[in-house]
């Protein structure tokens, strides 16, 4: 019985540490990346796994403590996996809409980011749209 607890303690500790490290790396990505679109990768992917690991540890811990499966955390995981991509998509959509600057090394020139000649002429009479 003691052996089981020791092993489970190790497993829980492993998941907690792995989750924390992933969360830390994801946050580091926010500071280290060059433009908005690259910064988006950190939170959308890495923190998902980070939180996933911590929730796994939580499931293991409370299942052991309450002597019965505790699966509530699965719900958080599922909702997270559904909502993280959607929010990332909406963020990048609005970034494209505002034509945020991208890293000069980025290849590919989507029409969403091109300066649209006709469009700017149409908008010109409405006021000074030449933002710095």
């Amino acid at each position: 019985m003691i052996a089981l607890y020791t092993v489970m303690e190790g497993v829980i500790a492993f998941f907690l540490i792995a989750g924390s490290i992933f969360a830390l790396i994801g946050s580091l990505g926010l500071t280290r990346m060059k433009d908005f679109y690259m910064r988006l990768h950190g939170p959308s992917k890495i923190s998902t796994l980070g939180v996933g690991c911590i929730l796994l540890a939580s499931i293991a811990y409370f299942s052991l403590l309450d002597a019965g499966p505790s699966l509530q955390e699965l719900l958080i995981t599922i909702f997270l996996f559904i909502t993280a991509p959607v929010s990332a998509h909406m963020l990048s959509k609005s970034a494209l809409h505002q034509k945020l600057a991208r890293d000069p090394r980025t290849r590919g020139n989507p029409q969403e980011l091109q300066e649209d000649e006709e469009h700017s002429i149409e908008e010109a009479p409405q006021g000074d749209s030449k933002l710095p």
Partner: protein, 165 residues
């Protein structure tokens, strides 16, 4: 007065509601089964008029395989993205990729876009209004055509088989 035509208009949604209810309560006592069961029947009946037609799962076994494949890819995705972030020389090769979609249903396109965001090095950034092109931002990509082929083989074709074929 809305007259439901069927008692269980969306069986999958009903099962899902019941499971979510039991997980929320964190208990499998008889009372929770009953209450969850009532909710699982009433909610789909009331909300049925608001729902778009959902595509049917034609091959459940493939869906299970797809699920585990994506789970594995999420772990790989994390290791790869961590590598790019921690690379001291900052040698990322970002790119915008226009991905030509073959899928047609809204639901399957949503699933593909979410999968792309969760898997290695790519975030789906924008779906063009015509619903035929998905704009993807890749963090570190060598050959763009290679990446498109990879996504097509690994994710889009299974999804097409599962839902649309």
């Amino acid at each position: 007065m809305i007259r439901p035509r069927k008692w269980l208009p969306m069986p999958l949604l009903s099962v899902l509601l019941l499971v979510v209810w039991l997980l929320l309560m964190n208990s499998v006592a008889l009372g929770h089964w009953l209450l969850g069961g009532v909710l699982a029947i009433v909610i789909p009946v009331i909300t049925e008029p608001f729902w778009e037609a959902q595509p049917r799962v034609k091959k459940p076994f493939l869906l299970v395989r797809y699920f585990f494949r994506v789970l594995l890819d999420i772990i790989i995705a994390n290791l790869e993205a961590s590598k790019v972030i921690l690379d001291p020389r900052g040698r990322a090769r970002p790119a915008f990729v226009e991905y030509p979609l073959e899928l047609q249903e809204n639901f399957t396109i949503t699933m593909l876009a979410s999968t792309i965001t969760l898997t290695p090095g790519t975030v789906s950034a924008h779906l063009r209004m015509d619903g035929k092109t998905l704009l993807i931002h890749a963090l570190d990509v060598g050959d763009i055509d290679d990446m498109i082929r990879h996504i097509h083989e690994r994710y889009e074709r299974p999804l097409k088989e599962i839902f649309e074929c």
